[in-house]
Symmetry: D3
Subunit: 239 residues, 6 copies
């Protein structure tokens, strides 16, 4: 039913807000690692301006190329703190979303939009501080003619998103955390950050990852050979 | 004769300056809509720095990959307020334009450049405040060996541009308005903005596009069904 | 042996520091021209934030898609003023480099990284002022499982880089200067800049490149014809 | 758990073989339409030689860029009539599959492979008649170092595939049918083909789709205007 | 008015059939050269099977992404010998055209289709011998909801096409010849082929292009230097 | 000096013909593996028709976008059995090579061409049986205006090629073998093929790679867990 059209689900189960607040402390890269390196959207998904960072439950939207009708249906179903996430039935760069819809989404309390298509009015959106992650920027207008769905599972930029899953987005991209895993992932992210803080200090002090992570032996076992200089490399080449 | 080489037209008919000034008030997305959703250049055409916005008649340039000779021919034919627009005979990212040509173009009064190829010296151009919309940034130098044309009709990033047509460019991209339509489009853009200002207020106040645009009935007629919750969706899936 | 795995060369011959300092004055476009228009990396190589500019000898890294093991090996071999340069055995956008490695590289004195793959933690890197030129931004984590090499010749974004060659990078992209040519190229870049400064003045004063470069005759010889106006073009079309 | 590593599920529920045989009669485009226009893999997924057509339950494989270890794990779990389907954790074109694995897969009775990565030995595969749909052809070898999974849900070329779902692939691309829907979709595909056969006859006899589908009225209502000739168009342009 | 929607022009002026027959003798590369190297569609436009070659006047179609309504309108306006040519308002790979429309187009006498979008049922089209040049192959279905136009000027794969212009397509791609130039271009193509036949004979007999085209002197004047062997190159490098 | 223009080296040292003959027995994937997984050109390099396979020493050509002058210079320096290999100073798809140059190259005894640019007259080349590996097919004509080089080291599709290096090309792509390594690589390829022949037999007989390569233990050590069925996976998910 991924990609099924014609349905809008009114009430969805969202990730618990305490967990959302907890997870919101961490960056996308950390959350992705804490998940076990899953859940990342494709790197074509880029913020329309630098420095934005949001975290909230997904209201999912499924739409067709060049048709932004379902974004209006979604507006009504957004709650404060939500992140709208839109997947399409095929690749398309048209500017499905602009400052009017952003005004509507903001008045509903939405934090931002993740859209596997184009976005427009980006100067206005930057001025409003309404962040969008999109795969294109395009002024190309869209029609309102064909039904998609709201709050059904979608695929967005290669990732599966269920309504209510947690979306975290920053300058590195976008990651989705299944709602059932939010607390667990937040805890793992916290542990990771604590550990990384220590590592960062040691690295800043000049220690090497080779020593901190104990890589010298595994590298040697894998066969890494150190040559003294380029002359040694040249000799090897001519052997 | 699109793509014909070896001709430079000295005097072109430009869009009337009053109309240009009128149109310059509006953004690319608004103008594109006011045109009836035509005239947009492909979204690969991006500004080299954010925040630039220009509007003026086109001096058109046709060039070959890796050859920027005709930009020098164009310099002489630029008048204050013009926008240079360059199309190529095949796709190429070489840096055809840099700070020297920008200095020359500026001294002629040109507002900026739209180029279906690469641009270089972008830090200098940003410092000068000379905006360029290009499909690539590349330091790759070009030769001066093969004739193209200046002020003949060109295709740039998928759009047809006649010399003297109006070019509007901002963070959303670039749109071309045929010179004969400038006044009409400016008027339509004005009407659109006035209408959107009202809609924006209503949306900001919490009204929904569904109601403002009267979409509920058409959505229902198209077959949109609202389900109460995900359990209802699950039941449907198993039916 | 380009692409050979399992070797790390400890000591490399670097471009002389006086020459590096001299070359560091110039931009990538100027250096590329001074080289005779060679040595440029492909334009897909972009800085993760605008305004960065570095110049230093290359410590080269060869790695496999999705595997950042060799970046740790490289850290130990970096010296103050170096630029790390990474080529891969096949195209891949995974985020091989983030703030921890940047902390390590900085503590070794490295100026920045040029990577034919993805980068993550870009907000942190911007905050640290540690510049990276990459072909992608991606939070996707990588493994440490397969050997590559450090300080052997590599191909990065289509350019051949030997360890110790000089790397210059700015908003226009990245260029590599063979270490043996650094002094010569710096001199040529200086001559070019001096000449361009004069040209820039003349252009700013309204002189045309057509006259400064003496192009009018060559253009005429190549067959460029000036038509008075669009009506003349129309007549030609109908002949 | 999409993208979870380290698990291989031995026994999966496959679509019923009678339904598979029924569905195998139809092409990918017909099945995609019968599904309600869902389930299609992205068009980057192309057959390595023309004319191949397969249909069978999916054994799913999740792998990392440049690492084909899990294809060997999958070989053991393939049953006659199966189609192997591989998704990766990030985009990569390396040649993960060649004639040796094809020999192994064939000896297990597999019909073919759908791989969101590269394939090699394509001349041998064509000679063997072992079809592969891939996003690239590349001789680039891969390692066996990092665990993925077999028979867990995956995303392949933008489509969600559960183990045992039905995969149909031909010259038009690849579609996935959830196992629970196979019978229903086969029936719908049959009805569609029957109807299309009649339409095809009428179209071949010179009737127009405009009349067969009754489009004239809806087109007129949407505002389509017929002009007699290009002169009429020209008059309109100048109005 | 490029890209204007809602108009279908019933009668168009077509290139004269004698000239069409004359031009049909030549390949796309020859015609493109005979045109003065203009009129070529972008190389992304590829035939769905090798070996097809058509030449005929264009019936032009303008359509929106994911919407194939106007192809049905076009069917009625096709005459024997025509080539349908479709441009879109934005990039889209959906399969707008399949075997049913091909059956209809064929019954109208059309020779083939050039479409700046996707095509499906390609095995059937190959079997029918109905050639299509497209930018994608995709089974993705399309809707019939939004008006475009038929027989108005369009841009297709970067080339301007007026209704009635001549379209020639073969394994090298697609070229458009303005109807007013067909006779002239056919004559030029004939002269070119005659000349090339002589050149081909001389080249086959072992003469060099350097001598036939008299390039030795211009190469020398441009500065080409012949070195005897790689040792000489090495000496130069170390100078 | 990679990318240096204006030099043609007349006599180059070619790989020994006995070794070439030996290596010619093997496919590109086998040679790439025998090399230690290096030397492969990027997968964008594709044959213009299926089934071609060549192997011979490289005559290297460096050219600029849209300029095929140096192919004529190269023709004179080709010897029987050679493979011409062309790299460009920047990405470009123009059709630099067609049937006339192929006729000339064939009369010189060349086996084929590898070109990091476009090719045209592909139907003629297929009919002649003159194979080309290119990154594009395009009828776009090129000029003869700017010097490149012949028989200097080049980078082609991301691989370093010295004149005289061995080029092997087939349906899987193109690999370059440094001339000094040809004998060694041929021997390694032979050993690999012998070993693979045995493995192929065992796989065809139903043995698994897991057992032949002894992977079961390393997989277990890496943590691979087998679950009995999807219910077990579901239980795990909910733990």
């Amino acid at each position: 039913m991924i990609g099924r059209s014609g349905i809008a689900v009114k009430t969805i189960e969202r990730a618990a807000s305490a967990s959302v607040a907890e997870l919101a402390k961490y960056g996308v890269a950390t959350i992705h690692e804490a998940m076990g390196r899953v859940g990342l959207l494709a790197p074509a998904m880029r913020p329309i301006y630098p420095g934005a960072k949001i975290c909230g439950p997904a209201v999912t939207i499924f739409a067709h190329p060049g048709d932004n009708w379902m974004l209006h249906v979604a507006a009504e179903l957004l709650r404060p703190g939500d992140v709208a996430v839109l997947g399409t039935s095929s690749e398309n760069a048209d500017g499905m979303f602009g400052d009017l819809l952003a005004t509507s989404f903001r008045s509903r309390g939405a934090l931002g939009l993740v859209i596997d298509a184009g976005c427009r009015d980006v100067a206005d959106l930057r001025a409003m501080g309404f962040p969008v992650w999109s795969t294109a920027i395009s002024a190309k207008g869209t029609v309102k003619a064909t039904l998609g769905s709201v709050n059904t599972p979608i695929i967005c930029a290669g990732a599966l998103v269920h309504p209510g899953d947690l979306i975290a987005a920053d300058d590195d991209g976008v990651v989705v955390v299944p709602k059932a895993r939010v607390a667990e992932v937040a805890a793992a992210a916290g542990r990771r950050e604590a550990k990384e803080a220590l590592t960062r200090e040691r690295l800043a002090a000049g220690e090497l990852g080779l020593d901190i992570y104990g890589m010298r032996e595994t590298l040697a076992r894998a066969g890494l050979r150190y040559l003294d200089d380029e002359a040694a490399l040249e000799r090897e080449r001519n052997k």
